[in-house]
Structures are given as structure tokens and as C-alpha cells.
Amino acid sequence: MSTREYMLGNVAIARGIVEGGAQVISGYPGTPSSEIIDTLSRMDDRNFYVEWSVNEKVAMEVAAGAAWTGVRSVVVMKHVGLNVAADPLMTLAYTGVKGGMIIIVADDPSCHSSQNEQDSRKYADFSLVPCLDPSTIQEAKDIIPYAFELSEKFGIPIIFRTTTRISHGKSDVKQGEVFENRPIAHFEKLVDRWVMLPKNARVRHLHLLDIQDSIASELEKSPLNELTINNDPQSKMGIIASGIASVYAKEAILNIELDASFLKIGTYPVPKGLIKKILEHAETVLVIEELEPVVEDRVKIIANEIGSGARIIGKTGDFVPGVGELNVELCEYAIANAFGVTKKSNIADSMVDVADLVNITDIELPLRPPAMCPGCSHRAVYYAMKKVFGNDAVYPSDIGCYTLGVQSGTVETTLCMGSSITLASGIYHAGEPRPICCSIGDSTFFHTGMNGLMNAVYNKANITVTILDNRITAMTGHQPNPGMGKTATGDVTVDISIKKLCLGLGAKFVEVVDAYDYKATEEVFKRAKEYAGTSVVIAEQACVIDARRAGIRLKPYIIDVEKCTGCKQCVKFGCPAIEFDAKSKHAKITALCTGCGVCVHICKFGAISVVEQ
């Protein structure tokens, strides 16, 4: 029994990458994909190269370069990262690869930790790159060696699409053998393959179209696709489900005890032959898939081709929602409604029960949104920023832990990685008369913020850019970045100075301040606000979580109840370590205090002081 191990989906995927014999792995952190490279970079005996790249486009090109030398490579990112890497992807489909290359993309239906819930399968369709969409964690691991073989057979990269419930699910996983064949890297000088001059690109586009049918027939046989024809020949019900939705659909079918033909799909191009078979057996075909109707549209086209009169429903007819993740209940609903099944799904009962429960309680549960940690330096910087720039200012922001500062009124835009400085520039050039102060984290600045700063300086945007430098990529699980002087595997490397970078990009006003030094931060913001042109404030302080792990302990603070007037000014600061005691009408500092000391400057009555003992 011990051959099985309890594994996180992303850890299993990392294991699949090892089993598949990958020699170069790159990526940029992003929930829910980050633990894949975290796992690989922490392995003790590595016979592969692994890096955190500065963004997804860079990562994609690093992996492509490696694959062009004949070795197997992997690039890992979250779904929105593929937008950043879409430029190389679209032409990489033309050039193809020599060694196997897998593009791992983690989708986030329901936007658990994302700004949108785009469906990466659309990119497969757009680029004509094949896509694999596993339904379980075991399948996700097992499919990676297969994906490498497929990639090498057709000389094309493969998109491997995972979702939050695969990546952040856990399961017992059976490990496999490690692929031992490790080719020596050799870059073959094939100008007509690697130089996409128009004359070469036209040829390669034709080639890409030519291989589509062979890819489709190969994938038809993939174990990711599975057709079960129903027992009762009189039953004319067909259900097609893809990826993780197929396990939900399977459970729903079991619960309802429905005798329907069932086709599970896990590849794109979809298995045309199997779809034809189910269309021949069924009068109604319900397609269950998360997000976009990728399979459903394809089934309609195939039905049209073969002249099938089957009724094809799913997103069509509103049986399956087009937003958010699916689950067993939603599948039961869809199936029951689609086939008019009389057996009631138990969800209908439970809805009533929940309503009853709400009726019998007058308890209102307080919301529990994620918040910045006690002692987080971002909170202190935002507080000083708001104080100096005031309510009558515009605050574009970006993507990272600091987005949680939306409560403090200093996060007024979040569009995509690196968009804070550029949106600020646009708002300024449009003629917005109010002062504009944007915020961006260190890793996001390295990712795509730098270009925006160069553009702002070059085009004379009169804005203040605040770089919240907590010396780590915190939100995604504390990955190293170029400002830290260490690589993904912990090797010492050059520490890239954000200050010098900003000066190099042409900024004339660049000031560095300790984010815990509240007075100094306020003074810097005042000067930055007065400055005519693009001013840059770099607020440095280590992430509290990372500092604690590094063994840094600061003395906690306490509130003197004699001096506390109960004005709640410190409570409004929003630190989770500061609570208000309604009985005594005084604020108090709890054991959560990390000793940043910023609240001392917020209390007008001098009631907060450090605990000396």
C-alpha cells in the first residue's frame, strides 16, 4: 500500500515533470500554479535546471530555447500569465520544437485568486497547439510523460491545462518510473525553422495546419478520452463532460442512477470519432464543461458535418452555467433538467434546509475577507500615502498582497500585472487634475512594471510611483525575485537594485525609505507630491512572514489604558493586532503584534509604547 502517497495536485504535477525527464523548467509564480516550481526548486538531488523567470513571456522563451536544443522543457504559469506569454506562443506554434515542451497553465474558475476566469482551452484553439485537460490528480501526473512524447512526435509544444481543484486538491497518488533518456543539448542551425521571416512563417503556418489531422487521430486514442455507451438501447440520453467537470458529472450520474451514454473528454482537438459515436446513440446530448462552450461548439460542428439531428445542449439552453466552477450539485441540476428525470437530486431538499436555518437564526456572520498581516509594511505605507495625498487624489494599484489594501482607499484600480504605472499615466495624460499616486510591488515591478515606468518618464507623466519593496514575491507563497540576490534554488546571484533600475530608466526623483519609519515616509511622500514629473518612492521593508521565518523578532507594543482616550484612531489603521474593547472603551494590542511600531505615530496621545521586557 505504501507505493501510494498523499499529494497536493501541484506536487504530483512536479513529480510528473521529473518522471517525464524535463531538463529545463521555467515559470512565473501565480496562484494556483506556484507550488509546481516551488516543489522542483526545493528538491535536493536535481538533474534539471529550474528558474523563476521575471515574467511569463520570458519564461516561455527560456523553455522554448531549451526545447530548440533537443532537451525536454516545461514552462509554468497561471491562466492570465498566458496572456503575457501569448506573443511567443502564437509563433512557437509555427516554429514548433525539437525536444518535448509542455506549457502548464493553471486556470482559476470562480476567480479564487485571480482578476478573471478566462479559459485557456481557447488559446489552444487560437494557436492550434494541442491541449490536455486532466480530470484527476493521478491523471495530471501520469499525462506529463505522454505529453512530452506527443510534443516530440509532432514537433509542437503541448498546453497542459490544470485548474484550481486539480492544483490545490489532494489525492493518493501512485508514482511512476523516471524517464532516463537525457539528450545532450545541441542547437541545430535551422534558419527556415527558427527564423520566422515572412517567407518561412508562411511555410510553417501551412505545416501547422497540415499536422492538425494527425494530431487529432493520435489524441482520439488518448486515455484521457473515454466513451461508455449506455446499457439500455432504448435510452437516448448522452452526456459529454470535459476535464475536472467529468468527475463531477460521473458522480451526479451515479447519484441520479441515470442510464446514459457518457463521454469523458480530456484532449483538444476533441476526439471526433467518439463524439460521432455518442451522437449516433443519443437524441439529446448534454455537454458539461467549466467556463467556455469549447467542447459544445465543437460537438455542434461535428453533428452538422454528419447530419445528426441530436439536440445539443449545455451552455445552450442555460443548463450549465458559463461562469464559475462546477460541482456535483450543478451537474445533478443540469442532468435532471436536461432529461426531465423525475428522481429528485438531494440538492433541492438541501436548499430548503439552508433557507430554514437562516430563518431560525438572527445571527449575522461577520465577513472574513483576507487582510494584510499584522505588521505588514504595506499598511504603513498606504497610511502615510493617504495622509499626504488625501482623499482628493487618484490611486491606481497593481497585483500582489498590497491589493488587499483596497479597504484603506489607496487601491482604486487593479487590471493586470504591471498596469498601475501605465493606468496612472493614461489618467494623467487624459487631463485628470487631481494628484495621482500609484502603487506596485517589487516583483510586479520587475515583471512588467519597469516598461511602464520608462514610458511614464519618457512621456513626462506627472505622477508618483510607489514601489512597495518587501523583498519577496509574497502573495503567491514567498518566491525569490531579482531584488533578493538569490535564485529559485537559493543560489547566490546579483541583487538587482530597484533604485538604480529606476534611475537607469530615466527617473530623476527616486527616494528610498524604510516603510516602518512612518515620519520619514510621510516626508518623502510630501516631496514626491510636490515634484513636477514622474517621482518614484521606494518603500523598503521585509515581508513580516518572511522576516519571522528568518528568525527576526521585534519587541511587541502595548497601549497604556491611562493615556488611551478611546478615539479609535489606531483601530482605524486596520492592523489585526489592534482591537477595541467595547467594555472598557480602550484599544488594546493583542499577541498578534509583530513590533513594527508604526501605530506609535498614529496615536496622538502617546499611549502606545514598546514592551521592554
Binding site: R4, E5, Y6, I347, R368, Q407, I578
Partner: protein
């Protein structure tokens, strides 16, 4: 073939930072060692910054990781408000094991919201379900460290799990920092004592 005895649908709810993932890992690892298939879904990423977290653990399951509404046999709530928040995942016959020590959300500490009376929460839970309520945070301190509250709760849940006490303790020993093994085993035992033994 999975037997009914090996099946258990468990929800662990709590607040980011309370150790819900370690609790589910202990149970998951023990189940796998016993040869029981398992599927679990966890909250990672953004919600971990003090947000509400919920883990689904399906023992004896080979399908998806999400427990359907009213499908759970046990709701292990590391915090009282988080018991009520996820109560609709629990089946009518299910049992709630709840730590009565509240963790105030930022909407209460610095916002205008009130935290409901804990005894009221427990009363409401009792109106629909079997409830085992005790202060696991105090027991953790008694065991030797407040951070072992999650292991106290695993101890309480252990009488419902299809894996034996010894196997769970072996997993705990393997998974917690070496210096804290004794404290954690003590925490497990203190939690286990909270549940009447006829559930064993």
C-alpha cells in the same frame, strides 16, 4: 472495493493561519497508509491571509474532491463563526465538532461589524445537528503550545475517522517539527478525550 466503513466525508473550516491544512494532511496521510483512497480540496493563496478557509476531505472516494451540499458526515470547525458559515455542507445526521475560541475578523476589529455571541452560535448549531463544542485553544495551551489547536481538533475528530488512533499518532510524529512531537501527541489525546467513547 471501498467498503462503507472506509467512507467518511469531512469538512475542516477555520481561519487562514490556524493550521487547517496540516490537520487535513495528518488525516489524509493516515488514510493513504491504510490503503483508503482519498480526495481533498483546499484553500490556498489569497484566502490564507486571515481569510475564511475550508478544506474538503473525502475518505474512500475516487471521484471529485468537492463534498456536495449536505454531504459531509463531520464538520470540524477550528473557529465558531466558521462552523456556522459552512453548516450547509453537513448532512442532517452529521456532527459538528467546534472550537469555541473565536478569532475576530478584521471587519470586527477595525470595522463596524459585531461578532456574534459564541453561546448563541453553539445554540443555533445544536438546533439542527449533533454538536461537540469545547475550547480547543485552551486545551492546546494546556498541551504546551497554542499552535497545536489544530492537532487537538484532529484528536477530537479521530473517533469518527476510519483510521486508527495509533496510525494517526504515527503520522503526527512524522509531520510536526521534531521538538514539538510530545506536545502534539498530548494535544491529540486532550482532543480525543472530548468525544464520548461510544463513537469509537
Amino acid at each position: 472495493m471501498i467498503t462503507d466503513k472506509e467512507k467518511l466525508e469531512l469538512v475542516i473550516s477555520g481561519v487562514g493561519g490556524q493550521g487547517a491544512i496540516l490537520a487535513s494532511d495528518i488525516i489524509g496521510k493516515a488514510a493513504v497508509l491504510k490503503g483508503i483512497p482519498i480526495r481533498a480540496a483546499e484553500t490556498h493563496g489569497m484566502a490564507q491571509r486571515g481569510g475564511s478557509v475550508v478544506n474538503h476531505i473525502r475518505l474512500g472516494c475516487e471521484l471529485g474532491s468537492m463534498i456536495p451540499l449536505h454531504g459531509a458526515d463531520v464538520l470540524l470547525a477550528l473557529e465558531p463563526a466558521e462552523a456556522l458559515r459552512y453548516i450547509d455542507l453537513l448532512s442532517g445526521n452529521g456532527v459538528v465538532i467546534v472550537n469555541t475560541e473565536p478569532v475576530l475578523p478584521v471587519t470586527v476589529t477595525s470595522g463596524g461589524n459585531d461578532y456574534p455571541d459564541v453561546s448563541k452560535i453553539v445554540e443555533v448549531l445544536k438546533s439542527t445537528h449533533k454538536v461537540i463544542a469545547f475550547n480547543a485553544s485552551e486545551l492546546a495551551i494546556k498541551a504546551g503550545h497554542p499552535q497545536t489547536m489544530n492537532v487537538v481538533m484532529v484528536g477530537a475528530a479521530s473517533k469518527y475517522l476510519p483510521v486508527g488512533k495509533d496510525l494517526l499518532i504515527d503520522c503526527i510524529k512524522e509531520m510536526v517539527p521534531p521538538k514539538t512531537v510530545d506536545i502534539n501527541v498530548r494535544a491529540f489525546e486532550l482532543g480525543r478525550e472530548q468525544v464520548p467513547s461510544h463513537n469509537q
